[in-house]
């Protein structure tokens, strides 16, 4: 097993871990963090799989994708945090109601 493959597996692990946390935790901050962990997992997969053959220089294209992805993730996180504060201001709790509104 090459180290790159191992990293990619860790990435998939992070993705799964984040998905689990997103589902089980109710607090919005935890959900937002879980999404970020998932995103990091995907980025790790992209970066790790860029090293196609051992020893050769890695493929730069996935690295460019990760940079784009990070920009997207940062702006999404900013929006999510701002929304979370609004949810708290409106409902008094940083959680979503279990039952969708009527």
């Amino acid at each position: 097993m090459s180290p790159a493959f191992l990293y990619a597996l860790v990435g998939v692990g992070l993705f799964t871990l984040g998905l689990y946390a997103l589902i089980v935790h109710a607090h919005l901050l935890r959900k937002i963090l879980a999404i970020n962990v998932m995103a990091s997992g995907v980025f790790l997969v992209l970066v790790a799989l860029a090293a196609r053959t051992q020893g050769a220089a890695p493929d730069p294209v996935p690295h460019a994708m990760v940079i784009t992805g990070i920009v997207v993730a940062v702006s999404a996180t900013a929006l999510a945090l701002a929304l979370m504060l609004r949810v708290r201001a409106e409902t008094g709790r940083a959680e979503l109601a279990e039952e969708p509104l009527e």
């Binding site: 959900k31 799989l49 294209v61 994708m65 929304l83 949810v87 409106e90 509104l101």
Partner: protein
């Protein structure tokens, strides 16, 4: 005129318009309307180019695939751009009345226009993207803009709906991105045309396909992944609900269609059957839930869940007739649902509530709006000569030709469910309610745009041959896998 790079202009114009609306908030209504007209003109220019010269490919910055970003416009992209432009123009005109400063607050009126222009930019860029990574970026831009617009309504319902929508949207995008990573690793490209040549079945491809399809289904709100849609669509301001239901959910369906036809033509029949079954379940569940709702906007939102189900009936049919039927459904639903949400917005504006039981003789007091609702209802039910009828006819024909007549049963029962809730609403609109309420005059622009969109949904039935010819340009449907 033939050497103008329309694909770039179609993306840059709404972006520039959005920035202008942001910089000069006092003039935002005028700037927004001018931009909307400009985008319609530019899409027409692109359409002319595509019809005259065939599918267009444009390498941004002259780099070209596989390193650079390519824009690609064929008949399918053009169709999506056109429906976006037409519905977008209608929504812009409607919003100029809806976000009236005095009533809706300076802030919201100010924020609506730039975000709506950015959303339009994202939609146009999405329909013109030629590679799966660019599709991811545009999908995220679209999702973020849509979430902001939902939150614009303010209040606990809208903010919670927006938050749920944001989490779902990000989750779907991440599934999609992981799929992109696997595909890039396997074939060294993200360009759809290059991938179409190189892709062959392997475990990594199956995993990528599963991840991407799951992510996109979540974003398209296919039953049972529709849980986020009703609250987000119903709690948004009316023009926003209209554009979410008409355009935003269709964008992820468009990506799914592209991937299915071009990159995953070897997807097995069992998966197609599963998508068809989920579509059928969505038709019944959405229709049934719509019938149960007491609020007009919630009802229309559930009807969107049902109508999205029809789109997926084309997967098991897997014929050109089936795909064109689904696309026709997409078009006519966009026009009809826009008209319906606009009509709901008018009743909300008029009486300050959208309780169906208290519509209180809306027919006499707002004849134009209720006509719009009823006409849109005709298309949603699928009665001739509406666009919805042509769509169901094509799907029915495809079902019978492929020897899977039971999908036709879904179409007919779904139509009956729609008819039930349309007549329920229209019935209440004729009767006097127990608690009469204060009424406020609705601006004429809002009533007329709702009516025009509804008339368009009906007229779509008459344009069918012309629009279907458009799909043939550089069509992904002509490959042997689709027929």
């Amino acid at each position: 005129m033939s050497d103008i790079h329309w694909p770039v202009i179609v993306i840059l114009l709404p972006l520039a318009g959005g920035v202008a609306c942001f910089l000069w908030p006092r003039r935002s209504v005028l700037l927004g309307l001018l931009t909307a007209l400009g985008v319609v003109a530019c899409v027409a220019g692109l359409g002319w180019q595509v019809v005259e010269q065939g599918a267009q490919r444009y390498a941004v910055g002259g780099w070209g695939a596989p390193l650079g970003i390519d824009l690609y416009a064929d008949g399918l992209s053009l169709l999506m751009l056109t429906v976006t432009a037409v519905v977008g123009l209608g929504i812009s005109v409607y919003s100029s009345g809806y976000f009236e400063r005095a009533r809706y607050g300076q802030d919201r009126a100010r924020h609506f226009w730039p975000v709506w222009m950015f959303l339009w930019t994202a939609l146009n860029a999405l329909f013109l993207s030629a590679d799966i990574f660019n599709l991811y970026v545009t999908l995220e831009l679209l999702g973020l803009a849509a979430v902001v617009l939902v939150a614009l309504a303010g209040g606990a319902d809208a903010v919670s709906g927006a938050m749920r929508y944001l989490l779902v949207s990000l989750l779907g995008s991440l599934f999609y991105l992981l799929g992109v990573a696997l595909l890039y690793h396997s074939f060294g490209s993200v360009d759809i045309a290059i991938l179409a040549e190189r892709v062959e079945p392997s475990p990594a491809v199956w995993a990528a396909m599963g991840l991407m399809i799951a992510g996109l289904l979540l974003k398209t709100a296919l039953f049972p992944l529709h849980f986020w849609l009703p609250s987000a669509h119903a709690s948004a301001p009316a023009p926003v609900s209209a554009l979410l239901s008409a355009l935003v959910v269709k964008a992820s369906f468009y990506i799914l269609l592209r991937l299915w036809l071009e990159i995953f033509p070897f997807a097995n029949a069992a998966l197609a059957q599963l998508l068809g079954l989920l579509g059928a379940a969505a038709v019944f569940w959405g229709g049934f839930q719509a019938l149960r709702q007491t609020r007009l906007k919630m009802l229309i939102a559930y009807s969107t869940v049902a109508q999205l189900g029809y789109l997926f009936l084309a997967f098991p049919l897997a014929s050109i007739t089936g795909w064109t039927g689904a696309l026709y459904m997409l078009l006519s639903h966009a026009a009809a649902k826009t008209a319906m949400f606009m009509a709901a917005g008018n009743t909300l504006y008029f009486g300050g509530h959208d309780r169906i039981a208290d519509l209180d003789r809306a027919v006499q007091r707002m004849p134009l709006t209720m006509t719009a609702f009823a006409l849109a209802g005709i298309s949603i039910m699928g009665l001739p000569p509406s666009g919805g009828f042509i769509a169901k006819w094509l799907l029915l024909e495809a079902a019978i030709r492929s020897g899977q007549w039971w999908w036709g049963g879904v179409l007919i029962l779904g139509g009956l469910l729609s008819a039930a809730w349309v007549f329920k609403v229209v019935g209440y609109a004729f009767t006097r309610s127990e608690a009469p309420h204060e009424a406020r005059a609705v601006p004429a622009t809002m009533e007329w745009t709702a009516l025009l969109m509804a008339v368009l949904a009906i007229l779509l039935g008459l344009f069918a041959p012309w629009l279907l010819a458009l799909l043939e340009i550089g069509s992904p449907f002509n490959r042997e896998n689709a027929g």
